[in-house]
């Protein structure tokens, strides 16, 4: 699955590169590292975004590794806009995409409800992780040279989600032979402070 997505990203970059080259969109790259803080332990991420820029607008595709709470691989599209005519200038950005899970094991916190939840202790619990969503919005400041290359600092709200599920046999006393599915979805909101270099 991951190979397919990477291949898709590469293809999606190559085609518009050619198209946009004809319209004078300049290609570039923006690797970044970030520190994230939320209601869980502070963590970080590292990512790279391939950008096409024209005038004050930039669009691009990116991917990275996000270590906040559950290690995952966000894959996203991003748009940026700078303000002002000087070399150093502020910008805003927004991203959206998918958050791909890794195979890291997760601890579940069960919830009590006015009934019974029974898990067959002799059946192994195999959890399947599902991709979630990824979104971001923020603002920052760039210290650029004449070629619009240089250091970027930004503060962003970053959201990602992750789901996992497993199935167990229904308890015998319920006199049914169905499979009971439990799905847990984690919705994570963070603030990220990022440092990058725009090529």
């Amino acid at each position: 699955m991951y190979r397919h997505i990477l291949l898709l990203i590469i293809c999606m970059n190559l085609l518009p590169l050619y198209i946009f080259a004809q319209a004078k969109w300049k290609p570039g790259a923006l690797p970044e590292v970030g520190i994230m803080a939320g209601s869980y332990e502070p963590s970080g991420d590292a990512r790279a975004t391939f950008l096409l820029s024209k005038n004050s607008w930039s669009v691009g595709l990116g991917a990275g590794i996000d270590w906040y709470r559950f290690k995952s691989v966000p894959v996203y599209v991003q748009g940026r806009k700078t303000f002002g005519q000087k070399k150093n200038k502020p910008f805003v950005l927004a991203s959206g995409g998918v958050n791909l899970p890794t195979k890291e094991p997760v601890q579940e916190a069960p919830i009590f409800w006015p009934g019974i939840r029974l898990i067959d202790s002799w059946a192994p619990t195999v959890k399947t992780a599902e991709p979630g969503w990824y979104a971001e919005a923020g603002a920052g400041y760039g210290f650029f040279n004449k070629k619009q290359q240089g250091l970027t600092l930004s503060l962003n709200w970053v959201y990602k989600s992750r789901s996992e599920w497993y199935e167990t046999d229904a308890p015998a006393i319920a006199n049914t032979n169905s499979k009971d599915r439990t799905t847990t979805t984690y919705l994570m909101n963070r603030l990220a402070f990022r440092l990058g270099w725009k090529f």
Binding site: A37, S39, F112, G115, I116, L155, A172, N175, R181
Partner: protein
């Protein structure tokens, strides 16, 4: 410009500060109990229209009828007078029942915490004759507290989604969900997902003995339709699950072995030893001189062998292993004279000649059914399998054949 940056950063922190929290939602299934009053339940104990057999448990044969317990639901009455065409003729609703015993024309069952005596002289018109209230401990289901003033008659499946927000606050760690660890159910064949106590019955002489997790209860059944509670004897351990009579003894089954209780004084069972050659997971039958025990892998007792053990029990306090015989995955067994019928799991039913304990010979083999228990009835055997109840003709032990069957509800 610096002021703009500072203002922008502060604004962002203030604006998004309240968004800095994780949340979680969980979708899962739980089971909601449906209650009825004791009066309603007792009034409904009669021979009602037949129902599908979903979770077969213990069965008992009497006068051409099979009484088959459907765990926690009641008893199915099956007419097997024509082995080629067995018919489920009635269902008796006994919520919470997990075992039964029959003495004369009286069937004893546990109605959750009560012992009921039911006249089955006419299986199509059974009648409740006596209720002994509160003789068994209350059930508990993991950590769910049931209303003990009423009886749970069924469980309704409910899908639900619950959301819980975690911490609000900038820079503070969240407390995780309060972890209510759900106690895990035992394997399906034993505890049915319930904790606590479930009665197991055994009749010896005119006494009914039941075990419930840690004790033996004695009931006087000299007048079968009017049983009376006698006493409770503590076994001294907390993992008791089975009981069966063995001559003038009771074998009480636990995870680690069998406790032997002498019932020479039938109202006062006294422990006199342990029988380490079988555990609660290991079915045992005896012809008085030898005990035949099947051991298999895949049970909650652990173990890695699949075999039949023949144990000399002439001195029950000093039994000794005569010989072990390899099997595929043996479960329940029965003895009919020199013939030993063994349910060998997916490998069907085996018939062995046990004339010589040290040289038991395999004689017949019926394949194609996944078997787990058997009652030999002198030529016709009642065989419980995963998909139904089979009547097997073993009058020619070398060539057992299926005469008829009753199918269980599909899984």
């Amino acid at each position: 410009m610096k002021k703009v940056i500072l203002a922008l950063t502060t604004l962002l922190m203030l604006a998004f500060g309240s968004c800095i929290k994780d949340s979680m939602k969980q979708s899962y299934v739980y089971y909601r109990p449906v209650y009825k009053t004791k009066q309603e339940v007792r009034a409904a104990i009669n021979s009602s229209t037949p129902k599908s057999i979903v979770n077969p448990g213990k069965l008992f044969y009497k006068d051409g009828y099979v009484f088959l317990n459907d765990l926690e639901k009641g008893v199915h009455i099956i007419d097997v007078r024509n082995p080629s065409s067995p018919q489920v003729v009635a269902f008796v609703a006994i919520p919470g029942s997990v075992d039964l015993a029959v003495r004369g024309n009286i069937l004893y069952a546990d109605l959750t915490t009560d012992l009921v005596a039911i006249d089955i002289s006419n299986p199509l018109q059974v009648k409740l004759t006596k209720v002994l209230e509160g003789v068994f401990p209350h059930r508990y289901y993991n950590q769910f507290q049931a209303d003990t003033t009423r009886i749970i008659t069924e469980w309704v499946r409910v899908d639900t989604t619950v959301r819980n927000d975690e911490v609000v606050g900038w820079g503070m760690k969240a407390a995780e969900f309060s972890a209510m660890a759900t106690a895990q159910a035992d394997s399906r064949g034993v505890s049915n997902g319930t904790g606590g106590s479930m009665a197991r019955f055994a009749l010896a002489s005119d006494r009914l003995y039941t075990v419930s997790y840690s004790d033996i209860k004695v009931f006087n059944t000299a007048v079968p339709e009017n049983p009376g509670y006698v006493k409770t004897v503590d076994v001294g351990t907390w993992d008791i699950e089975t009981i069966f009579p063995f001559g003038k003894n009771l074998f009480i089954g636990s995870m680690t072995g069998m406790y032997i209780f002498d019932i020479d004084d039938k109202d006062n069972p006294v422990q006199k030893g342990r029988f380490a050659h079988a555990r609660v997971c290991d079915p045992v039958v005896s012809d008085g001189k030898y005990a035949y025990v099947t051991l298999r892998n895949g049970t909650q007792c652990g173990g890695f062998t699949n075999q039949l053990d023949v144990v000399n029990v002439e001195n029950v306090s000093a039994p000794y292993l005569v010989k072990s015989y390899s099997m595929t995955n043996p479960h329940g067994l029965g003895v009919d004279g020199k013939w030993l019928l063994i349910c060998d799991g997916a490998d069907g039913l085996r018939i062995l000649d046990a004339t010589k304990a040290y040289d038991v010979k395999k004689v017949g083999h019926l394949q194609g059914i996944n078997t787990f228990d058997v009652i030999p009835l002198g030529g016709i055997a009642l065989v419980s399998a995963t998909d139904g109840l089979y009547l097997v003709d073993y009058s020619n032990p070398a060539a057992p054949i299926v005469k008829g069957s009753v199918t269980f509800a599909k899984k």
